[in-house]
């Protein structure tokens, strides 16, 4: 049973980090799974489930004083097994890069900003094995073109900040694969990328698995990604392995209810949240006529105005939720910011019935002032507009806290101690304190875990009903748009290429770009 040989085996491994003082606090407990040579294994779980930590433990990159408390990790090196967690740093350094390679989630920060791409890839050849200088350059260039990078010669001399996210991830892969490692661990390789680029990167991983016979361990919170690459998968939650098995059986009839909930949230099979299609009650509260937004750019001194949103026109009716979807850079956020009044360089007309519409931003950590308490933040809008006395303001805030699903006790707490979901709730609460009917939502849930996304969407619908709000909902995630929006605009390079009722657009997209977007959706 040649095929039966396990390349990597974890036998009830538990990893721990030092708590204040000496005590070790276990993060994962009794984790056991294996991956066969040439196979692609997926590890699924929400952030904090211990999936990355287990993999980092294999190559001894835990950092922060983390250690494998018990169990061991066996790796097939040629004929015999070596125990990775007992090896010294010196021995591990020989394994890392040569036998086991890794790629990470954030292409923006995972490459050394002050070294050229060429040199960073070439370093792998320097570290393991010795081949002469010209030979190295040739192999690097070959590898760069193999990962699909256009014009490797030019890329060789470029710095990371001069490449796009997708190109940087390809460079990472080139770096990892140049020595043809036995095992490639990919930690959320596509999470930070756009949907279309995501598909290409996954194709690349599959190509290497086929051509080089590399074993792949793919860590992701996105079940669609796992299903498209891996044959088997392990589901982890709270530091333990909840379930593992073939992708087919696992996804069709998941045994454990955690896996079920995970699948439901991910594939949007859950209840469609929007109520009966909102009929356009009365007049449009927002009407936009060939509205353009410009960015000022300083190209070596000369100021040039770049048109980002090109003459868009649309109307929004009260109580309606309209989605705007498109890839990053298509101008959807710029449009939202311009409508909110944050970017003065506009042309055309955009009259909004209510003055200073509020906005909810994508990054929960950035949108709340870390130095203030939740209570202070929420009373700020009232303070600025002199609404009511101190007691009235305090009462209004506590009432709103209840409404967004946070209790009164959050009044005195500061943003640092809240989770992403809770912060987004506070952001929403702040936005509707002034009871403005029109609310712009710029990717409000993209940075949240699937299960938390679910709760926020439900909250948004509830609030819309209660306060008769009109939403302009911006997202790059088609599933979310599908579940919450009445109408949708598809934006591509600053223009609205298609618009219409959500079900109608999803069922038969007209514009080729919309088809591509829907195609990429799993």
């Amino acid at each position: 049973m040649e095929k039966e040989k396990h390349l990597l085996e974890l036998c009830n491994v538990s990893v721990g980090f030092p708590q204040k003082g000496k005590k070790m606090n276990p993060v994962t407990r009794g984790v056991s799974f294996y991956v066969r040579e040439g196979e692609a294994l997926g590890i699924v779980g929400e952030s904090g489930s211990g999936k990355s930590v287990s993999m980092l433990a294999c190559v001894g990159l835990l950092g922060g004083g983390g250690r494998v408390l018990e169990g061991n990790i066996r790796f097939l090196n040629g004929e015999d097994y070596i125990i990775l967690n007992t090896m010294t740093q010196k021995e591990l350094e020989a394994v890392r890069g040569d036998d086991i390679a890794m790629i990470f989630q954030e292409p923006m920060t995972s490459l050394n900003p002050v070294m050229t791409i060429g040199r960073q890839v070439e370093e792998m050849l320097l570290l393991h094995g010795d081949c002469p200088k010209e030979e190295r350059k040739k192999r690097v260039l070959a590898m760069l073109s193999e990962v699909g990078l256009p014009d490797p010669q030019e890329i060789y001399g470029k710095y990371p900040h001069q490449l796009s996210g997708g190109m940087r991830q390809r460079a990472m892969i080139a770096m990892a694969m140049i020595l043809r490692p036995k095992l490639l661990i990919a930690d959320e390789p596509t999470t930070a990328l756009d949907v279309t680029i995501q598909a290409k990167i996954l194709e690349l991983l599959k190509k290497f698995q086929k051509e080089y016979g590399t074993t792949i361990i793919l860590i992701s919170h996105d079940l669609g990604v796992i299903r498209s690459v891996c044959s088997r998968a392990v589901v982890m939650c709270g530091g333990k392995v909840v379930e593992q098995g073939d992708v087919g059986t696992l996804f069709e009839q998941p045994q454990m209810d955690y896996t079920k909930r995970l699948l439901a949230a991910a594939l949007g099979k859950g209840s469609v949240l929007k109520k009966e299609p909102a009929v356009c009650r009365g007049e449009a509260i927002v009407c936009v006529r060939d509205y353009s937004v410009f960015y000022e750019e300083k190209l070596d001194g000369k100021k040039r105005k770049r048109e980002v949103v090109k003459k868009v026109s649309f109307d929004l009716c009260a109580g309606e939720t309209v989605g705007v979807v498109g890839e990053s850079g298509c101008g959807k956020s710029t449009l939202a910011k311009a409508l909110a009044g944050l970017n003065p360089l506009t042309s055309g007309s955009a009259d909004i019935s209510c003055e200073n519409p509020q906005m909810v931003f994508q990054d929960p950590y950035g949108s709340l002032n870390p130095a203030k308490t939740i209570g202070w933040l929420m009373t700020e809008p009232l303070r600025l507009h002199h609404v009511g006395t101190k007691e009235e303001q305090r009462a209004a805030v506590c009432e709103m806290l209840e409404k967004v699903g946070l209790g009164r006790e959050y009044y005195g707490r500061c943003p640092k101690t809240l989770s992403g979901g809770q912060r987004q709730r506070v952001a929403i609460a702040m936005a509707i304190m002034l009871k403005r009917p029109f609310l712009l939502l710029d990717e409000p849930v993209s940075a949240l875990d699937v299960t938390v996304q679910e709760q926020i969407l439900i909250l948004l619908v509830k609030l819309q009903k209660e306060f008769g709000l009109t939403y302009l909902f911006i997202s790059h995630d088609m599933n979310v748009i599908h579940r919450i929006c009445d109408r949708v605009f598809v934006m591509y390079q600053g223009e609205i290429v298609e618009s219409g009722d959500v079900d109608e657009v999803f069922r038969n997209p007209v514009h080729p770009y919309t088809k591509k977007l829907l195609g990429a959706r799993l």
Binding site: S110, V114, L127, Q162
Partner: protein, 313 residues
């Protein structure tokens, strides 16, 4: 290119501001250079005559522009006290201060970079704690006191150098360097302490970033990670800090020059101020101003060279 032109313009503007400020300062402070030139028993008429010949009675704007036109041509007029052209006086002092700066900056870099790295590699370890303790103590010692202690220990007790026996570079260059090492140490030590601390925090910050994890995953040893990857990134903020240090040293650290009896720019400026020798002070202030600004300019260029993200196309 426009960026550089803008920089040069701002440099000139600041220089102009400094000169103006110095001129006004001299109007405000008491003490008449003619009187301090002729001394206690000079007759009032004689003082008046000298004021006339030195052009001190002309109106402020008139004097300022005549000075400005001179300065642009590099001629700062004659020193009231020494009667020599100011340029000659300054250039003679320049070599002392420049050499002092070069030596101390070399020392700062040569000592603080390795120390900083050792500290950050063994963070929390014994070496780190000792180095931190010593550097923090040295940072706490006033410069002139350090100078005296060095003179005492190395000059009088260990007799490695003859205190106060400044040897001109022209005469015996070896002797000159041997003597200059000690004032350079007096200047360098507190700056080394600060640089080590600065570098350590910078390295620790870099070590937390993702690209370090990638470097380790490629099989780099801890040392390789530090020297090949982290150091260059960690040095970027240190460069701006070094810019301030270099400017400070080149401006002539008056106190150390006084303790080690070095005829540097700092001491010349002090004596010129206390003798109300306007031309020398003006030239000195212009020298220090341009030094600080040029160093900042070089720091900017260096910054771009090291950090490609900032590079101006």
């Amino acid at each position: 290119m426009r960026y550089y032109i803008k920089k040069v313009i701002s440099l000139i503007m600041v220089l102009f501001l400094i000169m103006l400020l110095t001129f006004i300062a001299f109007q405000v402070i008491p003490g008449d250079s003619a009187l301090s030139r002729l001394g206690v028993d000079a007759e009032p008429e004689a003082v008046e005559a000298l004021r006339e010949s030195l052009g001190l009675n002309k109106s402020l704007p008139e004097r300022f522009f005549s000075f400005l036109s001179g300065a642009v041509r590099g001629d700062f007029g004659n020193s009231y006290q020494y009667g020599k052209p100011v340029g000659e006086l300054l250039s003679a002092r320049l070599s002392v201060t420049v050499w002092l700066a070069v030596l101390s900056i070399f020392m700062i870099i040569a000592v603080s970079v390795p120390l900083g790295l050792v500290c950050s590699r063994k963070e929390g370890g014994v070496a780190d704690r000792i180095i931190t303790m010593v550097t923090q103590t040295l940072m706490a010692v006033p410069a002139f006191f350090l100078g005296i202690v060095i003179t005492l220990i190395f000059g009088l007790v260990l007799e490695w150098f003859a205190p106060g026996a400044y040897i001109a570079p022209g005469e015996d260059f070896g002797g000159f360097l041997r003597y200059m090492i000690f004032p350079a140490v007096a200047i360098a030590v507190p700056k080394i302490a600060m640089t080590v601390k600065f570098l350590k925090t910078s390295v620790l910050r870099e070590l937390k970033l993702d690209y370090v994890r990638t470097a380790r995953s490629k099989g780099n040893s801890e040392r390789a990670v530090l020297w090949r990857h982290v150091l260059k990134n960690a040095l970027i903020p240190v460069i701006t800090f070094m810019g301030m240090v270099i400017a400070d040293v080149l401006a002539g650290s008056i106190v150390v020059e006084k303790v080690f009896n070095l005829p540097g720019i700092g001491r010349l400026l002090i004596t010129a101020i206390s003798n109300r020798d306007y031309p020398v002070v003006e030239a000195g202030v212009v020298y220090i101003g341009s030094v600080v600004l040029i160093v900042n300019f070089i720091v900017d260029l260096l910054y771009q060279k090291v950090d490609p993200r900032v590079r101006i196309k």
